[in-house]
Symmetry: C2
Subunit: 362 residues, 2 copies
């Protein structure tokens, strides 16, 4: 059955990098029989400029009707003076909420060809391939009560609430176990169960869900130790699953281990495997329109889309292998350039990936 | 005026490493005019074995009467079967609570001589010298309400509460600004003010306290970015101040950047600069009694004690410089040994530090 993909170029370098993803999808459709149809819509600052809202209803409707959404990036200095409700980032949050995207998948992958980009020693990180599954719609970022109250003494007190129900924990753990089944079958659940009762419940539910996945080796780690282990020996991990806030912190730390943020994709999924896919880097307004942005994180986001929402892992592998080939050839965009490599622009990098895909099939 | 120091050797390697600290204090008293008197007491498993409590009242009373407490380490497999209230770790928590130690100072220092021990590239971490100031008695680890409740639907829900009053934030920020004044005069306050109202209040109070320290350059960073920056460019930081939980995570990550946990001291202070000083490594029961444990973190804890509780920074510097000299000589305990260095035991390392102190004064 033909799958629907909604393309949201967004702002800054978004349109340039997404253009390469569109070329890639066209190639997979034309030459490799991928059954998809695509539509394009506005989000973020581009949508605000067009109709006064960072997430027009029509865009949200299209997103809901799609099997997957590919997003470039949103935001830029142009829209920073706007009130918060109108800012480009609200478009992103609105899509997450509107689609119920509770599972954020954040791979931290370091292609051996780029190992020198890391601040860590090559032997510690070369070939790193972790998947961090972060709960995205619950936990302390959303919990009630919250706010700042004034006590009888006149002193103020700030409050936020970490809260998870069993069902919220269960569904994110299930996503993580499914991810582990497609990978190395090892899952590390990160909590602070020795101190926080809420994450004691998290651990209990993780163990319970784990009974449905006897092939997956489940372990548990306290968040402070996980932060240490990511620095000490990151390759020990396969899939990690954790709360919204712990995932926010650990996924960013893990991304930085690779030293090449321009290479990292992400996925946000709901219970139906409907998903939004986007590079983790931002809209980079300083280089927008110059044709120098790195499109690889966006192309790798397409690979994640194929694997997680479109049930087409063979196409995902095509892309991932092609990216590795292109790096082998020594092609680099400016952000990942190093001595002895050839610096190319956005379109040339996209073309090289297509070429590698076609060559592998020839 | 003569200062009182309570010595708590504790469990595992605690007695061995603390013995070196006692030799050091004796030397500073006898040869360098440091006016101190010391007393020794039991805590942790050793106290439980003696009298059935990990924190005898007599020990807590002595701690309260002291200007500073030096702790080795507590815990070990022998006491793990005990109920939580009787476990050695409770001795530590009881001391923190009993003395009101709300400020945890966690340096992450990487002596250039040990730069190879890090998983990070030497140029990224050699000479690292960060101080993380963690709030220790408030925040989400202590907030009410907390626990697991059963909803009307029968589903369970876990809750913990992040809560800080202005005065709690103010006193920890004050400690951090004071620490910055003794160091590089740069303070980075870490929060998640864009999402958590409680830490929005944190930021506001940090700015207010900062008006009393016009010489200190105050900056702010979100916790996820701080976790990234510690990996990307840790030497950008001087002092960091943050909440209990963020500090738990970041101080452990920062410690691991050094790759030599056996070198790192810590301090926990109250409003009167009364403090408890201890190495961050544990009681290491596997090597206890063998005379091979690294005493340097404990000796550096004494240096922190001299600086923060005993107002004797000149003696602190003596110790720190002596440690550096001993490393220059190529002496190493097993945990920090590397090719081309000489492996020595606990007592020989302690002696070498004393010798270097005396040599520097000769
Ligand atoms: Mg983040
Ligand atoms: Mg910790």
């Amino acid at each position: 059955m033909t799958k629907k993909i909604l393309i949201l170029p967004g702002d800054g370098i978004g349109p340039e990098i997404v253009a390469e993803a569109v070329k890639l999808l066209d190639c997979l459709r034309a030459d490799f029989g991928l059954e998809i149809e695509t539509e394009t819509a506005l989000v973020g600052g581009a949508a605000y400029d067009d109709c006064g809202s960072p997430l027009p209803e029509s865009t949200l409707d299209l997103a809901k009707a799609a099997d997957a959404v590919l997003l470039g990036a949103v935001g830029g200095p142009k829209w920073e003076p706007l009130e918060i409700a109108l800012r480009p980032e609200k478009g992103l949050l609105g899509l997450r909420a509107g689609l119920g995207l509770f599972a954020n998948l954040r791979p931290a992958i370091l292609y051996p060809q780029l190992a020198e980009a890391s601040t860590l020693k090559p032997e510690v990180v070369s070939g790193l391939d972790i998947m961090i599954v972060r709960e995205l719609t619950g936990g302390i970022y959303f919990g009630q009560p919250r706010g700042v109250e004034t006590l009888a003494s006149g002193e103020r007190r700030g409050i936020n609430t970490l809260v998870y129900t069993e069902s919220e924990i269960e569904r994110i753990c299930r996503v993580a176990f499914e991810a582990a089944m497609r990978r190395g079958k090892r899952l590390c659940s990160v909590d602070k169960a020795n101190v926080l009762e809420c994450t004691e419940l998290w651990r209990e539910v993780a163990i319970r869900v784990g009974r449905d996945y006897p092939e997956v080796e489940l372990s548990h780690m306290y968040v402070d130790n996980a932060a240490m282990q990511l620095v000490r020996a990151p390759k020990q991990f396969d899939v990690m699953v954790t709360t919204n806030m712990f995932g926010d912190i650990l996924s960013d730390a893990a991304a930085m281990l690779t030293g090449s943020i321009g290479m990292l994709p992400s996925a946000s999924l709901n219970a139906d495997n409907q998903g939004m896919y986007e590079p983790i880097h931002g809209s980079a307004p300083d280089i927008a329109g110059k044709g120098v942005a790195n499109p690889l994180a966006t192309l790798l986001s397409v690979a994640m889309m194929l694997r997680y929402s479109l049930a087409a892992p063979e196409h995902a592998e095509r892309i991932e292998q092609a990216v590795s080939k292109v790096l082998d050839r020594g092609l680099r965009t400016g952000d990942i350039a190093s001595p002895g490599t050839e610096t190319v622009g956005t379109a040339a990098m996209g073309d090289a990936v297509l070429e590698a895909i076609r060559a592998a099939a020839a």
